[in-house]
Subunit: 232 residues, 2 copies
DNA sequence: GCCTGCCTTTACATAAGCTTTACATTTCCT
DNA sequence: AGGAAATGTAAAGCTTATGTAAAGGCAGGC
């Protein structure tokens, strides 16, 4: 039913077996790593995990260290587990980027409920990563080369224009508020009377219109902008 | 620094005062509701909350009920609090849509860490994604795309019209007073002889009637308006 | 130091849409 | 029925958001 892919990093082999069975029944696919090093490798591999269950006490690389290193490159949600009921541990874990924390021994149904809650919430995130190539209608955007083409003609975009277009394309069909654009692209809150975003959008439209007639960026007055999905 | 807006729903006034102070220092803006009904109202008002802290034991409407009703229209993250350490409660809360659960008495720093973790994760979402899509009869409303369709035909609504319709649809079957509409949509009290709401409703009706005959918005004279539930 | 490119600000025209006005119509009360 | 109050709505008025050209400013490169 759920078909979500989880990674469990825990050195207690008996325990992992048990959890594995329990979570399989719930409809999750579960991979297991019995030490921190392997766990980190798997977590950062090409395999996409929807959620990582991470024990704190681990051989080779402890849970905090795994989390810290994972967070340098990945935003995968992490639920930490620990034998200690130590508050300090909890707080530290959450501070350095864990999404939830559960002290052993825990009720399996609580674990299951917390997993479900996290997965449910994560499903709301836009699926596209910022690394992915995007193609919508006659517009193609390639993050690796910073290149955008419209009807096969390359466009000369500035870095900011590129980022704005990318954000709009990732969220195509959806409203993207000016404040979101400002925060994500310019790294600052939208101030009153700040017209920068309008200008970048205006410039984008001008460049996009060079090789294509159809309107691509729609204004939602009082709200923001929206990249129109191809109607064909 | 954070500047995040939280809503605390808890009837223990002393306790809320304390938490309020504590969280203010952390840089959060905190609104407080001392009963479930008020809390639900505030949570569904035009004010956007980044996170709701919800006690289970509440006068008028208990925490579970508040959460259930909130979730019919909003996906705002909720952290539940409870005096009981009851696992069953926790699981129930998480099942019906809470994002986290903390048993009282808790370490303030743990609360703070969990809030931070949730807010951090939620910051990755587009702003308007915390509102549910609504569908009643042949009318569909989608906050993320700011799109309303009637019998599968898209309607061109203004921002205000959209918000009025959303409010009416959220409270379908119930009376929504003009003052409520004015406060939640326009952000101001309804003044005498103010006909704005009437006009917005009038325009809405006109647009809705384009593709559908049945009356959708009923006038309750002297009181307000009501979105009629589909009779089929 | 001086380009050069790009982001931001300024300024103004324009358009969108919210509010007000005015009047017709309906409802309710006595 | 008569009248007051509330509502429906077209149209005018007004406020504000937006589009965009042009000027200003800032930083990196040569």
């Amino acid at each position: 039913m759920t078909d979500k892919h989880l990674l469990l990093i825990d050195d207690d082999i008996e325990y992992t077996q048990l959890l594995s069975e329990y979570l399989s029944v719930q409809g999750y696919t579960l991979d297991i790593a019995n030490d921190g090093e392997l766990g980190l490798n798997m977590a950062t591999s090409a395999t996409h995990y929807d959620l990582i269950l991470l024990d704190v006490m681990l051989p080779k690389l402890d849970g905090f260290e795994v989390l810290k290193r994972l967070r340098t490159s990945h935003l995968t949600p992490v639920l930490m587990l620990t034998a200690k009921g130590d508050d300090y541990d909890k707080i530290l874990g959450l501070e350095i980027g864990a999404d939830d924390y559960l002290a052993k021994p825990f009720n399996h149904r609580e674990l299951s409920a917390r997993i479900k809650a996290l997965v449910r919430r994560m499903a709301m995130l836009p699926t596209n990563s910022t690394q992915q190539n995007l193609k919508l209608g006659d517009v193609e955007l390639s993050p690796s080369t910073q290149q955008v083409t419209c009807a096969d003609h390359p466009l000369e975009l500035t870095g900011t224009e590129f980022s704005v277009l990318q954000l709009l394309m990732i969220n195509h069909g959806k409203l993207v508020t000016k404040n979101d654009i400002s925060e994500k692209v310019l790294g600052r809150k939208l101030a009153a009377f700040d017209r920068s975003i309008d200008m970048h959008v205006s410039n984008l439209r001008k460049k996009l219109s060079t090789y294509s007639q159809e309107e691509k960026i729609k204004t939602l007055r009082g709200a923001g902008y929206q990249y129109l999905v191809a109607t064909c």
